[in-house]
Amino acid sequence: MLEAFLSGLLDVFAYPTFLLMLLGIAAGFVVGILPGIGSPGAMAIMLPFIFAMKPLEAFAFLLGMYAVTATTGDITSILFGVPGEVVSAATIIDGHPMAKHGEAGRALGAALMSSLVGAVIGAFTLAAAIPIVTPLVLSFKSPEFLALGLLGIAFLAVLSGESKLKGVLAGGMGLVLAMVGLDPQENIERYTFGLVGLWEGVGLVAALVGLFAIPEIVDLWVKGTGIAETQVGKLGGVWQGIKDTFIHLGITLRCSMIGTFFGLVPGVSGALSQWVAYGHAVQSASDKSRFGKGDVRGVLGPGAANNSGIGAAMIPTIAFGVPGSATTAILLGAFIIQGLQPGPKMLTEKLSLIFSMVWLIVVSNIITVMVCLIFLNQLAKITHIRGALLIPALLTLVFLGGYADTNSYLALAITLSFGVVGLVMVHQGWPRPPMVLGLVLGPLIERNLFISYEVYRFGFLLRPIVVVIIVIALAVLFLPNIQEMVIRRSALKEKAVVASEE
């Protein structure tokens, strides 16, 4: 095992593997930073080049790109409030307000360092977990997926900030929007208005880009200034952000674990784990008042989770052939092109290759973070550029990204529609993250609820893992209220004591 672990590392630095990884990193850098243009599209373009490569070379090329997109995607989220990747949407909630307050450097430093810690933790957890990973993955069946979906629902309120009711309603709207398309059991059209392009539902990329990017662009236009509204001291702060990662090491580590766990569960992607990580960061904090307004802990959580999941997500893809995201689906295609049939035997026969992939993710992230740190101060200066100069470039990217979701004008129309919805929500003080979470959770819950009942009837509610997850979900829902009640009651008691003493 150890031998494979070390030889896996050495293989990464062999020629031409290392060079191909650098090429991949360069591509991932660009793709991650450009909003709307995501890693799936980039990987699809890179796919034909790997026919002539050896397996490790091919994965160096592809994983180099993929591993850094979650990191550089966070940069766009922070600077522009536009998710660079689907998995970096949660970084916006606190990262972008920080940029607006002139703390772009600090937010970027925190995002990068937590990404690096996340990637390393994720990779090593994965390496350590390989012997037990098969039974672990196989113990997750439809009822367990359903329970994870319900756990996500429990986080809706946490993501809602101050207006809980509006948040839960927005989450409900997200769930309703998730119903658009053919229903998964009977193929009956729901809210498709006769458009075949809507059969597979509302595209997450188009929705995200519309919901977050368009309101930001309009905001920028109306203000007529740069993104940063205030000049707080010097731009720097990058070092502060890096220190923050270690000051709040608990959050970074726990969110890395959350990301790793969600990555391991087949078919559940980073699109969900970032929100759970963010919710955890909020819930575990004693002072919650700064969340949503620029709390660095809100950047650290999702920053760590979206990177730690990348390594873990290789396991269901390699060992079970079940990809959790659009990108890992293409990676699965790459495996087959390379003549590697996914299956449990990959974990034993190709162990050295798998460890190399783990190392590729770690090394790519280290290189990216180092390169980013060099340019970070320059990047942060973007927030001081006049909006009028930024808007055309942003608009172009947003429309391109929206169109590229399914290569159709319908996707563009969806982007624009969500843009309008986003504008109204921002204007009326409705939180947007719950809606995104609803969109992500809808299909997961619906499919698995139906299958669970079909196969187990109501027996599915009694499965041990389901019970554990539901207890956690209930704790997430009610613990804050109970805490509050306890605090209030003790305060009342104190008052009563004080009154009786008087």
């Binding site: 699809a44 196989l138 059209e189 597979e200 079970f320 087959i336 449990p344 035997k345 499919r447 299958i451």
Partner: protein, 347 residues
């Protein structure tokens, strides 16, 4: 001014002139062909198109560029509709979608806005067959174990009604009297198979080609969990996984099933014989269609493609455009009552 207008008019005329007068080679030289793939990147249709993308240009007169455009939607129906109706009909756009759409048309399914009989088919990649398999620990070892009133009920996972994971068990239930209990709603082939691996269900149905390319681990080696019970068609390929496995049509005869049952089995099997097809729109000039058809034939025989396919453990069984067209025509002329019954069976 007048001169400029004249120039403008001339260039306009040049740009819009009917291209059919030019030779095929002139037309394709310096052009870019788009292969519109009806699915997201990474799946079988996409990988197949990207494999062809590499070798096809050198076999088309004029050696055009080829790019892949993924246009997912409606289980590739969107791509089939678009290529047929709105894309240029000059041979610069090739559609790659699922063969199941032909069946959808035959069944008058909603959303179909093309006529598969008029589509000009260029090729298909595999000649395969639907099949069902069971977990070896399910107590079912032969198809006979699940047939009839005393047969055991076997829960199989499926994604999408009317697709390759649903038609075989539904049709076998209707014709052979098998007792497959179909749980549909899984998100795709991979989750469908995961449900078998983690014992949520006891079996699954798919095409034999799918098994070969992505699920051989379920039938051999340390992770082997399953055994094939039955294969559609009238004969069974010579392959270790299929030793002693009956062909559905033969079994139907043995069980004394009627002509209607056989017709239904045949109609649903025909569709898998043209797995992963490519086509161009009805308006594309004949000479270009012929050139493309021959190019696909040469591409499938190309050593570079063969080597790549071998690496992917793909056992290619391509059909020419003419063969695909013939099978499509046959399928579309399936007698109405048979189609009506099929519609009932898969609902």
């Amino acid at each position: 001014m007048g001169k400029k207008l004249w120039l403008l008019a001339a260039s306009f005329a040049f740009l819009t002139a009917p291209a059919s007068g030019a030779s095929v080679e002139d037309f394709y030289r310096g052009k870019t062909i788009r292969i519109v793939v009806g699915f997201a990147p990474g799946g079988a249709t996409d990988t197949n198109a990207r494999l062809l993308q590499k070798v096809l240009p050198k076999h088309i007169p004029g050696s055009p560029n080829i790019v892949i455009e993924n246009k997912p939607g409606g289980g590739s129906m969107l791509a089939a509709n678009t290529v047929y109706n709105t894309e240029p009909q000059d041979g610069s756009v090739i559609g790659a979608f699922t063969q199941d759409l032909v069946l959808q048309q035959a069944l008058a399914a909603p959303g179909v806005r093309f006529d598969a009989a008029k589509y000009q088919w260029l090729s298909s990649t595999f000649d395969t067959a639907g099949m069902c398999a069971a977990r070896t620990d399910s107590g079912v070892t032969r198809i006979e174990d699940v047939i009839g009133d005393r047969g055991k009920e076997l829960v199989v996972s499926s994604f999408g009604k009317g697709g390759p994971s649903h038609i075989p068990p539904a049709v076998f239930n209707a014709t052979l009297g098998t007792r497959f209990k179909i749980v549909t709603g899984y998100e795709g082939g991979a989750p469908q198979r995961l449900a078998v691996k983690n014992k949520e269900v006891q079996g699954f149905c798919t095409t034999f080609q799918t098994i070969m390319s992505v699920a051989a681990d379920m039938f051999e080696g340390p992770g082997a969990c399953c055994k094939v019970l039955i294969v559609a068609g009238s004969e069974v390929e010579n392959h270790p996984f299929l030793k002693g496995v009956p062909a559905a049509e033969k079994l139907a005869e043995k069980l004394g099933k009627g002509k209607d049952d056989l017709a239904l089995l045949r109609a649903t099997h025909a569709i898998n014989r043209i797995n992963l097809p490519q086509a161009v729109a009805p308006g594309v000039p004949q000479d270009r269609v012929q050139a493309l058809r021959r190019a696909f034939e040469k591409a499938f025989a190309d050593p570079e493609l063969r080597a790549a396919a071998e690496k992917m453990k793909m056992d290619l069984s391509p059909k020419t455009g003419e063969e695909v067209s013939r099978i499509v025509q046959e399928l579309l002329s399936t007698p109405k009552p048979v189609l009506a019954r099929l519609k009932e069976v898969i609902q």
